[in-house]
Amino acid sequence: AGGGTAKEGLKIGLVTDVGRVNDRTFNQSAWEGVQDAAAELGVEAKYIETKAATDYLDNIRQFAEEDYDVIVTVGYALGEATLEMAAEYPETMFIGVDQFQAETVANVAGLVFREDQAGYLAGVLAASLTQTDTIGGVFGTDLIPAVVAFREGYELGAKSVKPDINIISAYHPGEIAQAFTDPEWGAATAAQAIDGGADVIFAAGGQTGNGALEETATHEGFYCIGVDTDQWDTLPGAHPCLVASAVKTVRKGVYELIMSVADGTFEGGQVYGEAGLSDFHDFADKLPEELKTKLAEIAQGLVDGSLSTGYGQ
């Protein structure tokens, strides 16, 4: 199997993680990527929204049986199911977002990101903005690697600027199914962090994080940093505080991988997508120039490897 010849009239399917294709999380970004490619190739694309973790396999099989050519599965939780299906349907190409590939499988591309790098930049930004030398973080759950990477990166980045900075942050206390869908906890925790002196809040955790961002926005003169996509576009409620977002270019990554299937250059294995800081939008002119250049340098350094976040080593 593997890459080989270019394909005509590609059939593209997407299986979300528990959630929906327009839920303002990476589910949505991935689906947008699929739609971009579909539009470009002028083909149909379909999706299945997963309701429970136990349905992953069935939902993927749904597409596989209708012999779709590309199946995008979103989220590390689908990794195992994806590999199982890939073995069963070697002719089908699989794109697994956030799925780390222990060893290379010809028809599976794991689209992964260095969340720690995005988080690191967010940390630097936060540490440079804070007046109180106290910053906060509201995170989904440490049961999912990507979130851990964001948090660790964030704290390392912050410390790189202010070694003895005070960081108040927490993971959602509930079960995994709730960790990303509890905006009230996110909001309340953000408020609690603010009461605790934090004046910049980084929120990484789907709806939970969004709750934190919108809460921060309601307090005068506080900053917040979004995650995954550029939340300036997805979360108008957060505009008053949203300096930037620590983004993973899922949309772009998925798009490119699908195109590679189309033109037959698809390769299985680990594929690293870009992760970094989004545009500053309205805050662009409020931020000091040297900070922006500094962030740009760090980003460059992280990409070319001259600089390391220190996470995972």
Binding site: I168, P183, G196, N210, G211, E215, G237
Partner: protein, 353 residues
């Protein structure tokens, strides 16, 4: 008759003692809180226990529970079991959001008012449905309540469109003089409208329940509907009324989440709060002030565990810290409260031939 009167007295004496204890504890707590905030005590563990952040979180977490528990009390005191609080709350949240996100062009206060109303409408609809099923159609009330939950979850998720966005929510209103009291002012008297409503409602309902004509009749039909009926009280009419209002009150809990706390709606965002309110209701022994206390306790334990997480306790696995609220509830329930007493006629259909 001598022994009889003494037992009666003994009972009332117990009540009095309990009141004094509660009052004493409250004062003690206030003292600590102020000290923590004003003095260096706040830097230590006491800061974690009684810091402003914790207290504000407590109230915030308590509000939906208060509404939920009061809803439960309204229904169950009149003899209708209400397992469906979770569903009514969710319906309320959705109702509020549906209107809020479509009245963005209106001035905020107006849009908020409309949204709150729509929440109550949704809730009352659910409450009325519950009453209809359990009274008119003699349906088992636990089943009916469960059905309400499933229905509300299903409908709200099915109809909800994530592209709906709402802007603006109830903002804090500082109550003129009171808000300037140290700490208490900040915690109690600088809040959104619905928070005040929750507190006021708990107190008002308590007095109404135990001092008003409506309250007397409600308690009677919950304990012994036949007796009430023979005294000319229209049992089922009051049950309909209370359950419908109960639905609206639960819905206010949902409205709080959407209109005051989060600002947005999310599928099943009530996240089990309805069930915890159920616990709060039983815990508070079906009395509004009791429920207020229980809800506050639940809120506090949540705030506390959150504070511990935020302050980066690493020796204990975070999972065990997060058990705090639930373990506390069980322990308190098993040690202090002991046996609670449900309205005697709960769950029984009342019919006359």
């Amino acid at each position: 008759m001598a022994p009889v009167e003494t037992t009666a007295r003994r009972a009332s004496a117990g009540v009095l003692r309990r009141r004094w204890i509660t009052a004493g504890l409250t004062l003690l707590l206030l003292a600590i809180v102020i000290l923590v905030d004003r003095t260096s005590l706040g830097d230590g563990p006491l800061g974690i226990l009684f810091g402003i952040g914790v207290l504000r979180f407590t109230l915030r977490a308590a509000v939906p529970l208060i509404f939920g528990a009061l809803s439960g009390i309204l229904c169950e005191r009149s003899g209708i079991i209400n397992i469906g609080i979770e569903g009514m709350m969710l319906a309320g949240a959705f109702g509020a959001f549906a209107v809020k996100s479509h009245t963005g062009q209106l001035p905020l206060p107006l849009s908020l008012a409309l949204s709150t109303l729509s929440a109550c409408a949704m809730g009352s609809a659910m409450g009325y449905l519950h009453a209809l099923l359990s009274i008119r159609f003699r349906m088992n009330q636990i089943i009916s309540g469960t059905a309400i939950i499933v229905l509300a979850t299903g409908l709200s998720t099915y109809l909800f469109d994530p592209d709906w966005l709402s802007r603006g929510k109830f903002s804090d209103i500082a109550i003129p003089v009171l808000a300037r009291i140290p700490v208490i002012g900040e915690v109690l008297f600088t809040n959104g409208l619905l928070t005040y409503l929750a507190l006021a409602m708990a107190i008002a309902l308590h007095f109404l329940l135990f001092r008003s004509r409506w309250g007397l009749r409600t308690r009677a039909i919950g304990e012994h509907p036949r007796a009430a009926d023979t005294m000319g009280v229209n049992v089922n009419r009051w049950r309909y009324i209370n359950t419908t209002i109960g639905g609206a009150v639960a819905a206010l809990g949902g409205a709080f989440l959407v209109l005051e706390a989060v600002g947005q709606f999310k599928e099943s965002m009530t996240a089990g709060r309805g069930f915890i309110s159920l616990a709060a209701m039983i815990f508070g022994n079906w009395s509004p002030l009791g429920a207020l206390g229980a809800s506050t306790l639940f809120g506090y334990t949540q705030a506390l565990q959150n504070q511990l997480l935020l302050s980066g306790i690493t020796r204990v696995p975070r999972f065990f810290i997060s058990m705090l609220p639930y373990v506390t509830t069980i322990v308190v329930l098993a040690s202090v409260v002991g046996r609670t007493r449900a309205p005697a006629a709960e769950g029984e259909v009342y019919e006359t031939e």
